[in-house]
Amino acid sequence: MEFSGTVSIDGTTTEEVWLALSDPVMIKQALPGCQFLVECEDEDPDFDALAASAPEEDPPTLPEASAEDIAERAFEEGGHYAALMEISVGSVSPSFETVVTIEEREFPRMHAAGEGSASSSSFEMSSGMELAESEDGVDVEWWAEADVFGRVAQMGQRVINPVANRVVGRFFDQVEKQLQDVSTDSESSGGLRSRVSSLF
């Protein structure tokens, strides 16, 4: 399955968006069903241990968080991140233990690949985005390619596409909403933008 699209966010800058999308906490919050998202050592982490040690409450994200804190925890090229994704579709709610690797991260482009497995099913995904300035703000051009394997692929054909669409759709809705918050906040305070700019 392939998906792609462009999300336009007015009144913001590529730098702000870049920073926001570099924040694992914000990404976690935007992903429907994401139980935790943390950096891990390698591609084969112990999910039980990670689940136990995941923080109960998320630290603040933009605009409350400081740009420096975000830069500190930002995705790193070559880094591995573990996530537990519960994809709930009615009575069907498999939890996918997912590991994502940031394959490329160079402003304004990011590319990540990951795979997740649940009982008798698994998926692989590859996704990327590129930021571009637009007249009114920023366009986030994104694409994703996902493959599903095993029982879900055989038995759940009828729902895979809509579910994937929904996950992707909600993710970008949420990202857009959070970024709007950021840009609104920037406009009102004027402070964030300069703090963000100084990081580049």
Binding site: G5, V89, G90, S91, V92, S93, P94, S119, S120, R151, V152, M155, G156, Q157, R158, V159, I160, N161, P162, V163, N165, R166, G169
Partner: protein, 291 residues
């Protein structure tokens, strides 16, 4: 295939069912079982417990309260489809129920289970939307009514929430000047709707004064088609107006969320939506002509 192990609770009351669901987040409600059991057998769903409400008195049956027909949640499709009065009072609901699955499925599957499950390709959601039904939900906070327009929220997601039990559906009687229909393009294998269109039109003479048109199978949940409704309101149901409404059917939908699978692309689904919206309107028009 074979379902995984689960605990089985037979609820003695709706409140008990609600409590059991609240106590066990991995429990599922089972009514007719025709949506849940297939997913459990295929290994896709594996709930820890099932709460069976099929024995609850008062949850099944068709009752007429003045101008409203109350369908108990555990009323089977077959009961609805065989109810001659309902064919008169809310044709679209009876017609949709008569097209769910096959005879055996209709004998067991229930209307409450259907709308609570909220399968995007099932037949009742659009029919209930067109009929302007009201859903009764018993949840942890007690009983409430939900207008059908607010009920369907996404794929398999409804306003009843995870812990709410749909106890019944009120279907208002179609007035003297109202007619309705449900038409469907079934997927050849599953029988689920590639596209199903429900329409209910109210007339003043030849003119449509109110239209409720909804579709199954197109979006991630049963959805009203406001652009088609706008197009037909104020018109008479003639070939031109029907064609315009058919063309408009997809206009108000978020194209991004239109369903796509190996049976039909998004583009073709929208084409079927137009064609079946036309057929639904033509059928209603014919029925109205005989009033």
């Amino acid at each position: 295939m074979y379902p995984d192990q689960f605990e089985f609770h037979r609820a003695d009351s709706v409140s008990e069912a609600v409590e059991l669901l609240a106590d066990n987040p991995d429990a599922e409600l089972i009514a007719g079982g025709h949506s849940l059991l297939p997913t459990m057998k295929s290994g896709l769903a594996s709930p820890d417990a099932l709460v069976d409400i099929s024995d609850l008195d008062g949850l099944s049956g068709v009752e007429r309260n003045g101008e409203v027909t109350h369908l108990g949640a555990m009323t089977t499709y077959a009961t609805v489809a065989d109810d001659d009065d309902l064919w008169e009072d809310a044709t679209v609901v009876a017609e949709a129920a008569s097209q769910v699955g096959d005879r055996q499925v209709r004998n067991r599957g229930t209307v409450g289970g259907n709308i609570a499950h909220a399968d995007p390709a099932s037949d009742l959601p659009a029919a209930m939307l067109a009929a302007n039904a009201t859903v009764h939900v018993h949840g942890p906070d007690g009983e409430r009514s939900v207008e059908i327009d607010d009920f369907f929220q996404g794929m398999y997601a409804t306003a009843a929430g995870e812990e709410g039990v749909v106890t019944g559906i009120d279907v208002p009687e179609e007035g003297e000047n109202t007619a309705s229909a449900y038409v469907k393009k079934p997927a050849p294998a599953s029988g689920y709707a590639l596209v199903g269109v429900a329409a209910r039109l109210t007339f003043d003479g030849d003119e449509v004064t109110d239209a409720r048109i909804a579709a199954n199978g197109v979006m991630d949940h049963g959805t009203r088609l406001p652009a088609a409704e706008d197009a037909i309101e104020g018109e008479s149901v003639d070939a031109d107006a029907v064609a315009v409404a058919g063309d408009a059917a997809g206009d108000s939908l978020d194209e991004y969320m239109v369903m796509e699978d190996q049976q039909a692309s998004q583009e073709f689904r929208l084409q079927l939506l137009s064609a079946y919206t036309e057929r639904a309107l033509e059928t209603v028009g014919e029925r109205a002509g005989h009033m």
